[in-house]
Amino acid sequence: MSAKTPSKLEKVMAAGHLGVTSECGPPRGSDPEVIKHKAELLKDCVDAINVTDNQTSVVRTSSLATCIHLKLMGLEPILQMVTRDRNRIALQSDILGAASFDIANVLCLSGDHQSFGDNPQGQNVHDLDSMQLLWTVRKMRDEGTFLGGDEIKRPPKMFVGAAANPFADPFEIRVPRLAKKIEAGAEFIQTQCIYNLEKFEEWIRLAEDRGLTEKCYIMAGVTPFKSAGMAKYMKNRVPGMDVPDDVVKRMADTPKGSQAEEGINICVETIQRLKELKGVSGFHIMAIEWEEKVPEIVERAGLMPRPETD
């Protein structure tokens, strides 16, 4: 695959390197220093930084505004967009807004249901679903037109991504669903956090059998556990998460004072094992409010230094 956009992330993976991304959750307030601090922690060890869009349906500084902060710092943001909160007019408008700052990556999502957040009585929009948003961005970029058909002056040049959960039910449609996302326009995929390696390996093998890994970069998602409690919570409470018993046990059997370190060890081992897997083009490290550990994970996983692009 060759790069079609100015995205640094796309260039890294198109050149055959493993891409590395992490994420920055915007603050629940308007202090830009919070964003800048997180960005400083991540800037040298990743190719691009995802900026979440009101994740878990909790109100935060907007993804677009946060991406602009990162861009102004000289970093490469990935604009996450959920279809929960905005209709097609607002989504296209924000894509143009991002493009006006030359933000070169977008990740299209449906978003968590609002009942999980701090405004559970709110209306959701879902004028589009995540695949239709992918299709929309590709149309805007490749055809240079709005959904309504009018021409866009200076169309957005964005590397277009989506999420995939290899572990959600029913498993049998996980690969067909990936195929649909690629058909709708996905050029890169960031997966749900991987703890069940066998299941992930089966998923990517099936994807490869269908030729999907040739059409799209698959970035394996990882999240380090901070504690055995977090492992149990992820196993039992987070929808669509697959944490095998032996992983929970490994965390639980570790003395409390060393659990954070063990969580990092599991994360590094996961990356090392998946690095060798055909079809994996990179890693998406979701260190939820633990950004300071990302450089260590990237370093220990043998993914440093990050490759230079033009």
């Binding site: 009942s115 004028d127 695949m131 299709w135 649909k180 929808p239």
Partner: protein, 223 residues
């Protein structure tokens, strides 16, 4: 059918507490089936209101009962033409359609809702009604195994399921079936899994509520 649920009686009392003559008006259609607004419920609500007024020492308040065949048709609503203006207030326990049509027809009489109108649904079992349709005006059931993702998926995804589906249940509620799991099961049963691979393009919502109040006009049946 249109499914409604009874309003708390305290709320209804708040509407009519200053009335001297009240008509509780039921409907023989959907709200009878879902046991929220038929003749039986008219009787129960009227008796409850009488008891309330009696306890307040307002023995002179009159609460009458009437149940029409439908409140969404001129023909049946005309049946109360002769008596409607005797009342200070009508509590309609038809669906929101019936309540509005009654209010429209008897313009100068206050009409109060006695139910909360919920959705278009089915009687899954006695005492359990569940949603099936959001009347979006452009049916796609041919492609989704006869199961509607607009009405039954919490995110109304056209290309689902989302990543939160777990053991066939929706992420927002473990009691709730994942609509896309149902769709997939049904597509398998009718040997049409090829339909799952079809990418659903962007929906035209102009036939939905988004396009403003809607109208169905059939010249072939007009008089």
């Amino acid at each position: 059918m249109i499914v409604a649920d009874k309003k708390p009686v305290e709320e209804i009392i708040e509407y009519v507490k200053d009335c001297k003559k009240i008509l509780v008006l039921g409907c023989n259609e959907c709200v009878t089936v879902c046991e929220a607004g038929g003749k039986k419920e008219v009787g129960v609500l009227a008796a409850t209101l009488r008891m309330y007024f009696s306890n307040q020492g307002a023995e002179d308040v009159q609460v009458d009962e009437r149940t029409l065949e439908r409140q969404c048709d001129h023909e049946y609503l005309e049946e109360i033409r002769d008596i409607a203006d005797q009342y200070d207030g009508i509590v309609s326990i038809a669906c929101g359609v019936g309540i509005q049509f009654t209010a429209e027809k008897y313009h100068s009489i206050p009409v109060y809702p006695g139910v909360n109108t919920c959705f278009l649904g089915v009687t899954e079992q006695r005492g359990l009604w569940t949603e099936r349709c959001q009347a979006c005006g452009q049916c796609i059931l041919a492609y989704t195994g006869g199961i509607c993702p607009v009405a039954r998926c919490a995110k109304r995804l056209f290309n689902g399921p989302c990543g939160g589906s777990s053991q066939g249940k929706c992420e927002i509620n473990k009691e709730l079936d994942c609509a896309w799991q149902l769709i997939i099961d049904r597509l398998k049963a009718i040997d049409r899994m090829d339909l799952y691979e079809k990418f659903f393009n962007i929906k035209d919502w102009s036939t939905d509520r988004a396009g403003g109040p809607r109208k169905v006009e059939r010249e072939d049946v007009q008089i």
